[in-house]
């Protein structure tokens, strides 16, 4: 049985206080890191094999090593806690149950990348998490963990929480930097990359809240010991996996990285509720392509899920059961993406409503068979031609529907109605 790391203070049911956090070994990671050089900290994170938990899976240590530390600065470290990927509820738990863990992670990350200031960018709706973080920042500041000359190390860092005001696009890293600067959250073109010119055009490193929360444990255990916690050789550490939909025990579980999808759903999620069976799932948010029953034994890790044509994404699984029409599920998804498009580029702004409308016609039973070609063509055009990863994430599940559930889609057209129970 795995010793919980990220979730070890979740049992309190309230945001762990500084005292509770320290009783569980809290801030020992920071103490240890401050006796190391920044390069040694980066090396430990490279050794750990930690990959970005926001969904893209970029190696964290590598990202840090790209930060321009020769630039006179100031440098910034941003925590992306703008969790808005439908089906995802992991960062909320981290911030509401153990806010100090995120703060300690941010401090060590800031030390490694020589950042003078850290921001936690949080979505507007997470008011409780924002309050928990602000209280924790105050506590940590009084205890000398934040501010100038932290624990007498000569390292100084300030931390603020920025509460946003809606809009999924804010989670795109360069859009987030624009939002933080008081501009519209439209993505920026790269290069320049944030590592050299990011927030305020200064060197900036940005990681997801779960990524950052792992850092204290990596430093305390050592990179390779943390890495070996994974479920298989080559995997790295533990991961927060979520399950929602018609399962018996929907929830969030900390498991070895690479735990099979079947175990996540059937053992930890309790399996399907009586009378329902598994039809498909979005393995890690609304932008990850569908998986079907034949994929149940996939290891939930970035490479393994990519190999079967999807993405692990955030690792929070949304289960679609036998009562869910796959076309209606995709309409729901496209409604989200169409509304949240920031409007910056044409394929996303104008292309997604087009895809949405074809899906509506299919569901209503008025589409002709050749509209399926138009649907696919549009997805293929939008995918490579949009400005950021938003629109590819919007059409990818639709493409997977056409691969895996074409019969059900065609049945709508042949029957001139939805074949599923309403």
């Amino acid at each position: 049985m795995l010793q919980p790391l990220l979730t070890k203070n979740f049992h309190y049911g309230h945001p762990a206080t500084l005292e509770e956090y320290e009783a569980s070994g809290g801030y020992d990671g920071l103490r240890a890191a401050l006796t190391m050089t920044p390069d040694e900290v980066i090396k430990a994170v490279i050794d750990s094999g930690l990959r970005g938990r926001g969904g893209a899976g970029f190696p964290t240590g590598k990202k840090w090593s790209l930060t321009d530390r020769k630039n006179p600065g100031p440098r910034y470290f941003l925590v992306n806690a703008d969790e808005m990927e439908p089906g995802t509820f992991k960062d909320r738990f981290l911030m509401e149950r153990d806010p100090h863990q995120v703060i300690e992670g941010l401090l060590i990350s800031g030390y490694a990348t020589d950042a003078a200031k850290g921001y936690i960018f949080i979505r507007c709706e997470y008011a409780e998490a924002a309050r928990a973080l602000n209280r924790a920042i105050e506590e940590a500041g009084s205890a000398g963990f934040i501010g100038s000359n932290i624990l007498g190390s000569g390292f100084s860092m300030e931390i603020s929480v920025h509460r946003s005001a809606g809009r999924y696009e804010c989670g795109e890293e360069t859009a987030l930097m624009n939002a933080l600067e008081g501009k519209r959250a439209n993505p920026r073109s790269k290069p320049p990359y944030p590592a050299s010119e990011g927030f305020r055009m200064r060197p900036t490193t940005i990681n997801n809240a779960e990524t950052v929360a792992n850092i204290p444990h990596i430093i305390k255990m050592g990179g390779s010991a943390w890495k070996s916690l994974a479920a298989y050789e080559g995997g790295a550490g533990t991961k927060l996996y979520g399950v929602s939909g018609r399962v018996k025990k929907p929830g969030l579980f900390e498991l070895p990285t690479g735990t099979p999808l079947r175990e996540i759903i059937e053992t930890h999620g309790g399996g399907m509720r009586d009378g329902y069976f598994f039809k498909a799932c979005l393995p890690g948010g609304a932008s990850t392509p569908l998986l079907a029953p034949e994929h149940m034994d996939v290891r939930m890790d970035f490479d393994a899920v990519s190999k079967i044509g999807s993405r692990m994404g955030t690792g929070c699984v949304t289960v679609l059961d036998n009562t869910c029409c796959i076309v209606r599920a995709m309409i729901n998804n496209l409604l989200f993406f169409t509304r949240e498009s920031c409007g910056w580029c044409t394929p996303c702004r104008d292309g997604l409503p087009f895809v949405y409308n074809i899906l509506q016609r299919i569901e209503a039973g008025v589409a002709e068979m050749d509209e399926l070609d138009a649907l696919e063509e549009n997805c293929e055009t939008i995918y490579p031609n949009s400005f950021c990863a938003f629109a590819p994430g919007a059409v990818d599940p639709v493409r997977s529907m056409m691969r895996l559930f074409r019969d059900e889609v065609e049945a709508h057209i042949k029957l001139k109605r939805c074949p599923c129970p309403s």
Binding site: E128, S244, R246, T318, L335
Partner: protein, 174 residues
């Protein structure tokens, strides 16, 4: 179902307004902004505070924010019309945000909307006659383990059934 905008309230509609920021608070905010290297970085916080005071970001509130931050009012409007949770037209005293993303859809959020519409006597995007509630859809609230879920103001409710709606409305009505 047509595309229901969740940000229709970020588009301006002029109307009368009630309260406002106190002179004392405006002075404090001016001092705070003056201490910043880049005042425009405070705009989201200022808009939210003005919205809380005025009920929504009225023209007067937007002008006040611009004045405090020392930026042109068009800059404030540029942001206000972007963010879905900054309201440029009046809303009820509490906004009910029902999550309509995928996990809540699986768990029957459509029934919640039906119940809310029937009990409140309004459609999505409308405000009750007594000004108590506005009903809006919202994207995933990160509460999928307790789907279907909704926010009333800042309070999260999960594991909802249509039957629970009546009790919640009674409790939240002010």
């Amino acid at each position: 179902m047509s595309i229901i905008a969740n940000n229709i309230f970020s588009q301006r509609m002029p109307s009368k307004q009630g309260n406002m920021l106190s002179d004392n608070r405006i002075k404090e905010l001016r001092e705070y902004v003056a201490s910043l290297e880049r005042p425009e970085e405070a705009l989201v916080d200022l808009m939210r505070e003005a919205q809380e005071a005025y009920g929504y970001l009225s023209d007067e509130a937007a002008e006040k924010v611009a004045e405090i931050a020392q930026v042109p009012v068009i800059k404030v409007d540029e942001l206000a019309t972007f963010y879905s949770l900054i309201f440029r037209r009046p809303v009820g005293r509490k906004v009910i945000f029902v999550c309509d993303s995928i996990s809540c859809w699986v768990m029957g959020m459509e029934n919640l909307f039906e119940r809310l519409k029937a009990r409140l006597g309004i459609d999505i995007g409308e405000t009750t006659a007594d000004g108590a509630f506005t009903l809006l859809p919202i994207c995933c609230l990160g509460a999928c383990h307790v789907a279907p879920a909704m926010l009333v103001g800042e309070k999260l409710y999960g594991n909802l059934t249509p039957e629970m709606i009546d009790e919640i409305l009674e409790k939240e009505r002010v």
